[in-house]
């Protein structure tokens, strides 16, 4: 057993310095297209989810619909892409940030409401050494009764409507809901159908949204910081 302890100590600190310093390592985020002036409507036509919208002076971007399919990233009419990850925006419900006493002790319950392995994989990494969620005093809890924040991924399938509602009802006040990923915001590629509600907001009130398909671990952590006012929310649509 000593071997594990020594090995653990010998590895040193592997955690990103973000948010105190910028994180620019390649591949920490898929990036996203940005609004651009002077682009022709042709660029927007390649977007299969209508995240790109032709407007008078160029192409606007609705981040809540972008699934990083990368079809606008290459070729002659390529859109500019940025490698950022601080994407969290305000949700449909007007809400204030949680009070200051939550800043160093925030408990989060993750609920899978039809998320694919992408969101599952990314959320599992938020407390892994490269990101280390615990350094912010944010913890994942097994029971919604101990949770201040409900982090929901997936378009909310028919069978998950009731569990999601029950989990929300079991949480003590004050409580906040974060819709994680494009599916949780509006159904994403699955949309609203006989099998999916088409977003968490159809079932319980949503306070914050994290665009992305899937949002990378730093985008998820950014959202959890925003819940307590430790990070600023961003706009979820951009005009050229």
């Amino acid at each position: 057993m000593a071997n594990w302890v020594l090995r653990s100590l010998a590895r040193g600190i592997r955690t990103t310095r973000w948010p105190r310093a910028e994180e620019t390592s390649l591949g920490v985020t898929p990036g996203r297209p940005r609004a651009a002036t002077g682009m022709s409507a042709e660029a927007a036509e390649r977007c299969p989810t209508a995240a790109l919208m032709p407007v008078e002076h160029g192409v606007a971007v609705g981040f809540e619909r972008c699934v990083h399919c990368q079809r606008c990233r290459h070729g002659a009419t390529a859109m500019p892409w940025s490698g950022d990850f601080e994407w969290t925006g305000g949700g449909p419900r007007e809400s204030v940030d949680l009070p200051a006493r939550f800043r160093r002790s925030l408990h989060v319950r993750y609920v899978d409401a039809g998320a694919c392995g992408g969101c599952m994989g990314e959320v599992r990494l938020i407390d892994a050494p490269p990101y280390n969620l615990h350094r912010f005093g944010i913890f994942i809890t097994a029971s919604p009764r101990d949770a201040d924040v409900l982090l929901v991924g997936g378009p909310v399938t028919e069978a998950m409507r009731t569990p999601v509602r029950k989990a929300y009802a079991a949480m003590p006040d004050p409580k906040r809901v974060v819709a994680m990923g494009v599916c949780a915001i509006n159904g994403g590629v699955f949309g609203a159908s006989f099998a999916s509600a088409g977003g968490v907001g159809e079932v319980i009130p949503v306070d914050y949204v994290i665009p992305g398909c899937p949002p990378p671990p730093l985008a998820i952590i950014h959202a959890l910081l925003a819940v307590t006012g430790r990070a600023a929310t961003q706009v979820t649509a951009e005009q050229p």
């Binding site: 592997r14 990368q70 609920v111 039809g114 569990p163 989990a167």
Partner: protein
């Protein structure tokens, strides 16, 4: 005598009409519902064919065509049995003898309302009785996918089946919201106190109706679904889907694109297995081991992001090849990154297999015997840990795997430790395959135009969790008319409950982790 001649002889006995396609590798047989079970049993038991997938193609007036696919790993042939049934006719179940078809028949009953005669356990499968009225069949052509079917109050009527009648026996429910980051699914564990005597997996809490909502979509739009219904095996599923479209277009994929597809498919496999190994270490509370695995997983995700633009490789594979040509420099980085990750996983393996407290939790734990594995027809690393050396990359070589040296590691114990060894061995094999493929990667274009025509095609790939079959029918308008996805998750979850019978409660999450399955891949 080759199995092929044997097959033709057997079919002659049954008097069924046969058409041989694809240069002798694919046999299509139109059979009556009476001869179907006998032929299916002959194929699987005598001729050593494996059941691949069952596809229902709905026709007008509630008539259906059912396609049963079998493949022979020994000589890479594929047999398709086709039978048509009229509305209200019950075809015979084959699952009483070909047990691997059990869930496919249950799925077809829920999705189309086809009642398979002789199947003992139909209903409450994909569409839970708690949420859906009994007469709903969403895959039928007349079902409106935009409509929500509601019948409030159904939940009161459903109770889990109880088999154990000892004094004090109870059903311990696990899920659908449970543990830290667990996926939604319900496992009902029957116990008289400490030992799990019976287990029942109730899945499809995540059923998103992928196959139905894809109908009428353009192939390009449905590609987004192929990648996103199971994001951590996105490349493998998108590859199988694109190969089906390429068959319909008659496209010849350039050798460079085929090679690069192999490279990215194997990269995805290494990352998938690294995540599974990390979860398995974490399930036994070996946190340093988990951290080491997660760091490797994260580095591979970053490598994918740097080379392919997306951490889960979304958007890279398209019908006709790859969406763009990765740069030479990026490919060199990929080779180095993969080799480094392979070396670090090797180091982790040495630490894990010499930790007796860890091995105590996985040795002779969650055993799926070779007999059970064969009966349930499990696939992927789970099959290969239970003595079934099945791998579509070798059994039915596709794309760039046709000429590739592809090692298929195999163990026979079928316990958690055997599965762990298979995961590590597959990582080694994948690293070697990536390096060999990059070393002799031919020059040339990395895509060709692909204009799929109307028709049907079956294509497959070996996803990290096992073989995946995508069957696509394009309509005259070149849009998806029917898309069936046979996933490895669907095959393997079928057998999962057998591995937890008889173990203590605290071993359940460990066995679950050792299977390395995602629910998303099952609940389409």
């Amino acid at each position: 005598m080759s199995t092929c001649e044997d097959l033709l002889g057997t079919i002659g006995e049954h008097g069924a009409g046969i058409r041989t396609l694809d240069a002798g590798d694919r046999h299509l047989l139109e059979v009556t519902t009476q001869t179907l079970p006998k032929l299916a049993v002959d194929l699987t038991s005598r001729l050593r064919y494996e059941f691949a997938t069952l596809v229902v193609d709905p026709g007008p007036d509630c008539s259906h065509t059912i396609h049963y696919f079998f493949y022979c790993p020994a000589d890479a042939t594929l047999v398709e049995l086709v039978t048509g049934i009229k509305a209200g006719v019950s075809p015979p179940a084959i699952s009483d003898q070909v047990h691997a078809a059990d869930w496919y028949e249950r799925e077809a009953e829920d999705m189309y309302g086809i009642h398979f005669a002789g199947h003992p356990f139909l209903g409450d499968f994909v569409l839970h009785d708690t949420e859906w009225p009994e007469n709903v069949a969403p895959m039928r052509v007349d079902f409106d996918p935009g409509m929500r079917v509601q019948e409030p109050g159904l939940g009161e009527r459903w109770h889990p089946r109880r088999l154990l009648s000892e004094e004090g026996a109870l059903i311990f429910p696990v899920g659908p919201i449970w543990s830290d980051y667990a996926e939604a699914g319900l496992w009902l564990l029957e116990t008289p106190g400490e030992q799990i005597r019976q287990a029942h997996s109730r899945l499809f809490y995540k059923y998103r109706g992928v196959e139905k909502i894809a109908e009428g979509q353009s192939p390009q739009r449905a590609l987004l679904l192929a990648e996103r219904f199971s994001g951590n095996s996105a490349f493998a599923h998108a590859l199988a889907y694109c190969q089906a479209l390429e068959k319909l277009a008659g496209s010849q994929i350039p050798a460079r694109a085929e090679g690069l597809r192999v490279v990215f498919a194997e990269l995805e496999r290494i990352r998938y297995h690294a995540a599974t190994i990390a979860e398995l270490a974490g399930s036994t509370a070996l946190l340093v081991g988990k951290s080491m695995g997660q760091e490797i997983e994260e580095d591979l995700l970053r490598l994918s992001g740097a080379v392919a633009g997306h951490r889960y490789l979304f958007g890279l594979v398209v019908p006709g090849g790859l969406a763009w040509e990765p740069q030479e420099k990026a490919l060199r980085e990929l080779e180095q990154g993969v080799a480094a990750a392979g070396a670090r996983l090797g180091e982790l393996e040495q630490l894990l297999v010499h930790s007796s407290s860890f091995l105590d939790r996985i040795e002779e734990m969650g055993t799926l015997t070779p007999e059970l594995a064969a009966s349930y027809g499990v696939v992927g690393p789970i099959a290969r840990a239970s003595g079934r050396a099945l791998d579509l990359r070798r059994a039915l070589p596709y794309g760039g795997y046709a000429g590739a040296e592809c090692t298929v590691p195999c163990e026979t114990e079928g316990d958690g430790y055997a599965r762990l060894r298979v995961f590590f061995a597959e990582v080694r094999a994948s690293v070697a395959l990536i390096r060999a493929t990059l070393a002799k990667l031919p020059e040339g274009p990395s895509s060709v135009p692909c204009e799929p025509q109307s028709g049907t095609a079956l294509a497959w790939s070996e996803a990290p969790a096992g073989g995946a079959f995508h069957w696509v029918r394009l309509g005259a308008d070149a849009r998806i008319a029917r898309w069936h996805i046979g996933t490895p998750g669907f095959r393997n979850w079928h057998a999962f409950h057998r591995a937890v019978e008889g173990v203590a409660f605290q071993d359940f999450p460990i066995i679950l982790a050792s299977f390395g399955l995602t629910v998303a891949e099952n609940d389409l």
